[in-house]
Amino acid sequence: MAVVLIALAGASLGVGAARLQAGDPMSALVLSVSRIPRMLAAVLTGAALAVAGVVMQQIVRNRFVEPATAGSPEAAAAGLLAVTLIAPHAPLWVKMVVAAASALAGAALFVVLIRRLPPHEIFLVPLAGLVLSGVVGAGVTFIAWQADLMQYVSIWMLSGEFSGVIAGRYELLWIGGAAAALAWVAADRFAILGLGPDAATALGLSPRAVIRFGLLVVALVTAMVVVSVGMIPFVGLIVPNLVSRMMGDNLRASLPVVALSGAILVLASDLVGRLIIYPYEVPAGIILGVFGAAAFLGLLWRGDRHVH
């Protein structure tokens, strides 16, 4: 898998409107300012989103949920919109903090909401998430429409793309990557959380503390992705499900695979998006929305036994 990732990364560096030539200073500039940041951004986004998906799924104990379908990106966009309206000239880190805080609030709201659903109706949980996304998203859209900021909002919420990534404008994603790495450190705790609150308590863990930490990871990843490239749907849903099917949910072993697969998926989607109508581009999020959705449906209807 690592080989696949490296091959894709190489391809990603090579593809673009400008042709690269060895020894050409212009090419070196394109590489260091545009191509390498873009490749790194795709890798970081994919890995972090996939890990955030696992964390979210462990928190709510439901496979059919990911931050992107639970209102987190819309909440982050709401925060961003608020900053843009109230303090348009606020430095980037302020926007980032506000986006992370509002993503946290959105994710927490989702967790509180679904606690009131009947426990074994597992499909009501993703449904509630989608509707919550819709409600928050509609609120954001309404305000953005009035304030003539739709251009921004539709990128934040609807379709992430990497075409705007250059050096200096993607580095926040490293924070998302770091949050995902932290999640791996706590992998066993999330795995125990997945056993259920009773079992986690019996093993001496505080489920609340683990949930809070997990929400923080989810919020950080979501906010950084939304701020830097815009939300990319389905990565957090498809990748964890595929990996779980292959190797189970022993997260200490599976999280690195999840991160790697997420990186591959997003990098590949970006690459396809750049090639399909070359030299124009289609956002990676749209490519994923089509092919990712198809893959997920295949998953959903294949092994019936595994979906309780």
């Binding site: 462990q58 496979r63 066993d188 795995a191 056993l195 019996a202 093993l203 189970g248 022993n250």
Partner: protein
């Protein structure tokens, strides 16, 4: 020693447990019996600090469960509730290994691995060790969960209706295993519905009804025709078989 003092609990104003007092001696298998809705599960869940701290006090081996760190308590008692629905895809061995978490916190040593292997053997799970729990039958999965609780190797083992889904042979094997743990100095608190399992294996019986403890004592004292008929409000007859009470209900 488990000490319960003035323990009360209610759900939205409906009292589930009414100021219960109880002292459980170590080194015994204590069976908790009583009709549905008596408060047995709630009592075990409160002792195992699964439910939030209620009115009253619970101490396990001198540690107040409301104030002691949960991690510390996980080395005093293991708990297996009735709900064992598993959303995660885990292999049997991985599930059982999580029982070692309070001891190794994710860095298992040789002793931890040995304990896991031992539990897999004890619960007849060696051949299933690399299967995913979701592919097992109800009884096999129940054994995996039991093995996980036992692997915690705690002085107290608290089990809420662990015989669910087990066939007679495995149910008997579980009780025999608990008896061995007791003989090695362990203590068990177990909710049982089958009165003959309680009469046949327990040392001490606690009978509950309507959120209160109505009788307590050695098996011979509690498992009697009068007591049980009264407890379950249905005709039950107790005779004796090989020195143990035998509960009959087809009379």
């Amino acid at each position: 020693m488990i000490e319960v003092e003035g323990l009360s609990f209610d759900i939205r104003g409906v009292p589930i447990l009414k100021s219960a007092d109880l002292r459980l001696e170590p080194g015994k298998i204590t069976a908790l019996i009583g009709p549905n809705g008596a408060g047995k599960s709630t009592l075990t869940r409160l002792i195992a600090r699964i439910e939030p701290p209620p009115k009253g006090r619970v101490r396990v081996n001198g540690l107040d469960v409301a104030t002691t760190l949960s991690d510390r308590l996980a080395r005093e008692m293991a708990f297996l509730g009735q709900q064992t629905y598993l959303a995660s895809r885990l292999r049997v061995r991985e599930l059982v290994a999580f029982g070692r978490w309070p001891h190794c916190h994710g860095r298992p040593g040789p002793a931890d691995r040995a304990a896991v292997d031992q539990a897999l053997t004890d619960f007849d799970l060696e051949t299933l060790a690399d299967r995913f729990v979701e592919t097992l039958s109800g009884g096999q999965a129940q054994r995996a969960h039991l093995a996980m609780a036992v692997t915690q190797q705690t002085p107290w083992l608290i089990l809420d209706e662990p015989l669910n889904n087990l066939d007679l042979a495995h149910a008997r094997a579980l009780m025999a295993h608990l008896a061995r743990l007791r003989d090695a100095g362990g203590s068990v608190l177990i909710v049982l519905h089958d009165l003959n399992f309680a009469a046949g294996w327990a040392d001490h019986i606690v009978a509950m009804k309507d959120g209160a403890i109505v009788a307590e004592g050695p098996v011979e004292e509690v498992v009697t025709t009068a007591r049980l008929s009264d407890l379950y409000e249905t005709p039950i007859s107790v005779s004796a078989h090989q020195g143990r009470p035998l509960v009959l209900h087809h009379i």
